[in-house]
Symmetry: C2
Subunit: 210 residues, 2 copies
DNA sequence: CGCGAGGTGTTACCGTCGGTAACGTGACCA
DNA sequence: TGGTCACGTTACCGACGGTAACACCTCGCG
């Protein structure tokens, strides 16, 4: 074989994940097992020996990337800042990551739902579920929300994750849209700016209209 | 043929959509064209003659359901209420719909991304994109947001849609969780309750900690 | 040295899916 | 009667996820 020296199995696994990473970066989250195998210079059965099935590979690959993302989010969540700055920090961290590797991010956030099927743990991808949990825990620990603390924190964790997800998806497609501006927009939304703003004086459609 | 009288083509199309609807309700959004054809008592090529491809069928089916959803959302967005009540009304409308037919809703919100591929128009499903647009338009028309009005409205439309989507997904899986309570939780979030709440006095992890 | 064991790799296949080509069949109309 | 046209079929294609079966290479051990 051309491969010079063969490392042990764990290293080999990392090589395969590198190959999968390259293919997904190039072709998006719908890369086929054949394509990944070809990129690695081998054929399908080897992939299956290492990862069981496509979900196994995707799971391994997702863990790899989400580990760093989760770590950074966790840091941002625990940073000794005022709450507004902390929230901005978390959002900025997320947006920075998805900006730096959009294809990989798409793979993490919008995985091909084929074949995994039964995920009763909600339609958020596993990585985002982890983020949501982290967020819920941080809210419950840091904010005084009264007796409904736990439920509120959990629901809000999910909702905020979905909010930043959708906002980030949209932002990625806006050309020349500064990241810090998007952070402000999302933080402002969370800060109730929509609720606090005045009615539009020239409104034609609101309840003052007619 | 067993079919007694054959209606004209448009009616036939509705019959096929009914069949697809039944299959999706039973098997979820991943129903195969074969299964749908079988449910309708015919074979695949007829489906393809009517709908072009799988996306055509899905699109037709989505329009059918999203039409009513969009109408109701639009009504709620234009209702002559105070803003908070209007927002609650919109969220409640959405949650009521997804509660009444979860499988259909999942089909609308989380379609099988196979084969449609190139949707550079964002990862929100088409139906949700419509909702987001509607929402953005309503915000831009009704709320005084200063010079950044349009950008804010568009970004918030996406973000709020994602927020309610993720929140709704989570809520669907909580047993015995009253809908109006979830509406309040989401509206409170939009109203900045997270931002306004006090720090948790017994916090171990916040910036007062050490 | 011979020889089995086990890991690495292959080819060739299966079932399913979305999608299509080619053909049959009936009603309707000049 | 013969032609046309829509409705329906069977049979197929290529791509996919996944697997069985076999080849090779190397290493430890008598």
């Amino acid at each position: 074989m051309v491969s010079p020296e063969r490392a042990d199995r764990a290293d080999r696994r990392e090589e395969l994940l590198d190959a999968a990473d390259r293919v997904i970066r190039r072709e998006g989250p719908r890369a086929s097992m054949n394509a990944i195998a070809a990129e690695a210079g081998i054929t399908k059965p080897i992939l299956y020996r290492h990862f069981g099935d496509k979900n196994g590979l995707y799971h391994a690959l997702a863990q790899r990337h989400s580990a760093t993302l989760l770590t950074r989010i966790r840091e941002a969540l625990g940073a000794p800042l005022e709450r507004r700055e902390r929230v901005e920090n978390v959002i900025d961290t997320y947006l920075a990551v998805i900006e730096s590797a959009p294809q990989i991010y798409r793979f993490l956030a919008h995985p091909d739902p084929a074949a995994e099927g039964l995920t009763p743990a909600g339609p958020l991808a596993p990585t985002l579920q982890s983020i949501a949990s982290e967020l819920s825990a941080a809210i419950a620990a840091q904010v005084d929300l009264g007796p409904d603390r736990e439920v509120l924190a959990e629901a809000w964790g999910q909702a905020i994750t979905g909010m930043v997800l959708a906002g980030g998806d949209w932002w990625l497609e806006q050309p020349d849209f500064p990241r810090d501006r998007m952070v402000q927009i999302l933080a402002d939304l969370l800060w109730g700016r929509l609720a606090a703003a005045a009615d539009n004086p020239s409104a034609t459609n609101n309840h003052n209209g007619h």
